[in-house]
Symmetry: C2
Subunit: 247 residues, 2 copies
């Protein structure tokens, strides 16, 4: 992964992920969007609903990366600790956003309970990012996006993320599918990797596919260089070993 770029870290919060109850979907959603924006996602952590762990991770990540994305822990129940933890990471208090409170009152009408208003809490100094399409704002505290864990809502908020983070030079990803296994491919691949240091070459075995044994990927910001690396690799493959191209 290249240096000098805009970078990001993900902090995925929830006991349910570490106890096997639910498989996270948000990392892939986030990674795909950041890739398109040209932001390097350096690392993700999956941590439990423990306030001091969240605080420490947010503090570390916000210094280390251009952007930080938290997922989960933003509801009104006792296990929702992210808003308070993000506030605490920046030595700020939690306040009630009158803008969020109005939205919540409007949404719930006469079904409103006190518990619902807990979702109006934000770290003091947080920005509420919204657009005409997406009236419910996303909370952005300094460089930390505080996003909900529910995958459908997390995905909706990506549009707001895209608008604020903005497009850079996106990453290109090209692929070759081959009938050879990694042990066979290795000498050809090593040569291509050596000749194309600016292309990130990945090799992914497929265990259950009867025909395609390995997928090779050629990623970078310069499409011509990715193409060149892929072509160099294809040229080294023996007859019949190329099973398809992607990207």
């Amino acid at each position: 992964m290249s240096g000098g770029s805009r970078t990001a870290r993900a902090i995925i919060i929830g006991n349910e992920l570490l106890t096997g109850k639910i498989a996270d979907k948000n990392l892939t959603t986030l990674a795909t969007v950041l890739r398109r924006l040209g932001v390097v996602l350096e690392r993700a952590v999956v941590i439990p609903d423990v306030a001091e762990v969240i605080v420490r991770e947010v503090r570390e990540a916000s210094v280390a990366s251009t952007w930080v994305f938290t997922s989960g822990g933003v509801g009104p129940t006792h296990d929702d600790l992210t808003i308070a933890a993000v506030a605490s990471a920046f030595d700020e208090e939690v306040i009630v956003s009158s803008e969020l409170e109005s939205l919540i009152r409007l949404a719930y009408g006469d079904k409103l309970r006190e518990g619902h208003l807990l979702m109006a809490r934000v770290p003091r100094g947080a920005r509420l990012v919204k657009s005409e399409d997406i009236p419910w704002p996303a909370t952005l505290m300094r460089n930390v996006w505080v996003l909900p864990g529910v995958p459908e809502i997390f995905e909706l908020k990506m549009k707001l993320v895209e608008e604020v983070v903005g497009a850079g030079v996106p990453f290109v990803s090209l692929a070759v599918l081959t009938t050879l296994d990694e042990g066979n491919i290795k000498p050809m691949l090593d040569r291509v990797v050596l000749d194309h240091p600016d292309v990130d070459v990945g090799s992914y075995p497929r265990w259950t596919d009867p025909k395609i044994r390995t997928k090779l990927t050629f990623d970078g910001r310069d499409r011509a260089r990715c193409e060149a690396a892929r072509q160099a690799f294809v040229a080294l493959l023996p007859d019949g070993a190329m099973a398809g191209l992607e990207g």
Copy 2:
């Protein structure tokens, strides 16, 4: 999550996970097995194929937890750095295991290439864990299980993990499904949480389910206490709000 228990950390390695190409499946597999064994999975990190990052994570995790599980980066290609990184984390060299070499020679026969033999590398001092059912061993370096990223193989190796890690007091997980949202539930839930500090209560909203709005979970090592917490919660629910029990 309770203290004083056997603990674990997961280190999930691979650029493909941080670029959105592939969604990890191994964390949920591992978490489910550890839960059954009564081991607390404290944390998982998803990191790129960068040697020094892997070394640092392995070193940290192996000191902090009873067990560490790495996933990915054990093939023969240039982006497979985990074996060398785990060796380096313990200041050991990489050696060729004659046991693994024999297995590889047997498996590939006259299709063997030099590249295949790279999969015989292990950190010096690693233990090869196997059973009669699973002839291909798993690599265990001190307290670090070095597991492959391919989900089908990762899952196979869990049987070896279970045998070595051994059963402790497993966690029980009970659940209630309700028609109420989290804002409505909160006052009832807070009371149950307060009265059952030894039960880990989780609240999970469902966004797209038209009937069930929230799933509540009651986890712990003592089934009777989990039952008590769940019953206390159900007793507080208004008529018609209980939509099902699980576990």
